[in-house]
């Protein structure tokens, strides 16, 4: 633990060099000593507390760096706005969790599939094709549950921190799990294999994510609009990002995609979609918060 603490301090010290020289000169020492002290205190409390300090810094440092570099310029006001900060937080939280969920799902699913096939053959002998598909659903549901829980918790840790952690973690887990579950059940319980199937399933996932964001909207029409926007945007983004990534990083051997390349493409693809979607989600939440305050202020002015 002492080695990790030392390493984190060193990394933070190196990251401080990314600030403008004047800022480093004025605040560098205070930043470093406060971070060191926070880490030491967190270490004595628990491993979770230690991790929270690191995650919080990882989340906030990029925006603060940008803000410090761009201040006095037109971008400053935008970067300082609540909607941008929420947007960034949402993008990072959702993007990373999205990648973790999907990569973890692939890894766990692969491991489970191997395990299940061996047992299944011993247990059932020559099982009909339909039963194989059912076993596939079980594998997928199990692996996606594990991945969704991890993803939901990571999302909550990055997006809200300790405040409303459990509520966000639950929402995140359900948000990741339900679209994935629908997708998998339909995929393995039917023989549908059309090219539009992925589009349709992504639309369901998008509808669900849009509906989650829409829960915070005031009017029913707005809720439907957000859910609809999610259903349209999400499949478009997923397909566009995968097309873009496969054209930017084509497989080394045409026709043969090695597992490493597949993983790389999937990670990049999910990262692009996740960041965009997360930014949208965070911005809407941040923007909603600010407009509520402004509306109340305006109402008060009118009544006066």
């Amino acid at each position: 633990m002492r080695f990790i603490t030392g390493l984190c301090k060193r990394i933070f010290g190196l990251l401080l060099h990314l600030y403008p020289t004047k800022f480093q000169y004025e605040y560098g020492e205070e930043l470093q000593s406060d971070f060191d002290r926070q880490l030491e205190e967190a270490r004595s409390v628990s491993g979770w507390e230690f991790l929270s300090v690191c995650l919080r810094e990882l989340r906030d440092l990029p925006v603060n760096l940008l803000q410090t570099h761009l201040e006095k310029k037109r971008m400053y006001r935008f970067l300082h706005s609540q909607s941008f900060r929420f947007g960034w937080r949402g993008a990072l939280a959702f993007g990373l969790s999205f990648v973790v969920v999907n990569v973890l799902d692939m890894v766990v699913n692969t491991a489970l599939a191997k395990f299940t096939i061996i047992n299944f053959r011993v247990w059932m002998g020559d099982a009909p094709q339909q039963s194989w598909d059912l076993m596939n659903i079980a594998d997928n549901v199990l692996s996606y549950s594990v991945a969704s829980i991890v993803g939901g918790f990571l999302f909550a840790a990055l997006f809200t921190g300790k405040f409303r952690f459990w509520k966000t973690a639950n929402l995140g887990t359900i948000g990741f799990f339900v679209p994935g579950l629908i997708y998998r059940v339909l995929l393995y319980s039917s023989n549908i294999n059309f090219s539009w199937f992925d589009w349709a399933m992504n639309a369901i996932a998008g509808l669900f994510l849009g509906a989650i964001v829409g829960l915070r909207a005031e009017s029913g029409r707005r809720k439907f609009a957000l859910a609809g926007a999610g259903a349209i945007l999400y499949p478009l983004l997923v397909n566009f990002s995968f097309q873009l990534i496969s054209s930017l990083f084509p497989p080394a051997y045409p026709g043969i995609t090695t597992s490493t390349e597949a993983y790389r493409q999937v990670i990049l693809g999910f990262m692009v979609v996740g960041l965009f979607y997360g930014f949208l989600l965070g911005s809407i939440l941040g923007w909603g918060r600010k407009t509520n305050v402004l509306k109340e202020t305006n109402n008060e002015r009118v009544s006066n």
Binding site: F23, E26, Y27, E29, E30, L31, S33, D34, F35, R37, Q38, S52, R56, E57, R59, D60, L61, N64, L65, Q67, T68, E71, H80, Q82, G161, K162, F163, K290, V293, L294, E296, T297, N299, E300, S303, N304
Partner: protein
């Protein structure tokens, strides 16, 4: 509403209000007296009952902006009792910072009055 500070140009409150939660909490934490950066972070955490935990980068980026806007000032160095190492820079509210806080307090009070008036007797 206009805010006047001792050395600042008159600035409209609409440009700074509503304050972000971080800014508001930092201003409030400095009301009892000057504090160094780390103590500000701690006090914000206590005041918000662990709801707002500032990362050090956010804390110092906000402090820098508030210093430049003249809302706070550096008032000296403080050696913490029982701690070795270099003394820490301490920050205090300026007159302008107090005016901003007073204006924000007034805004929040009128908001609260409005909410109370609108929800009175309606079970909310």
């Amino acid at each position: 509403m206009n805010i006047k500070g001792p050395f600042m140009v008159t600035k409209n409150l609409d440009d700074v209000s509503p304050l972000t939660e971080t800014t508001l909490y930092i201003l409030v934490s400095l009301v009892p007296g000057p504090l160094h950066g780390y103590a500000i972070g701690k006090r914000v955490r206590n005041l918000s009952e662990n709801r707002i935990i500032l990362s050090v980068s956010t804390l110092y980026t906000t402090l820098k902006r508030m210093l430049e806007d003249g809302w706070i000032e550096r008032v000296g160095l403080e050696q913490e009792p029982g701690k070795s190492g270099r003394p820490r820079k301490t920050y205090a509210l300026t007159e302008r910072g107090r005016s901003i806080l007073a204006a924000e307090k007034q805004r929040l009070q009128s908001l609260l009055a409005l909410v109370k008036k609108q929800t009175a007797g309606r079970g909310i």
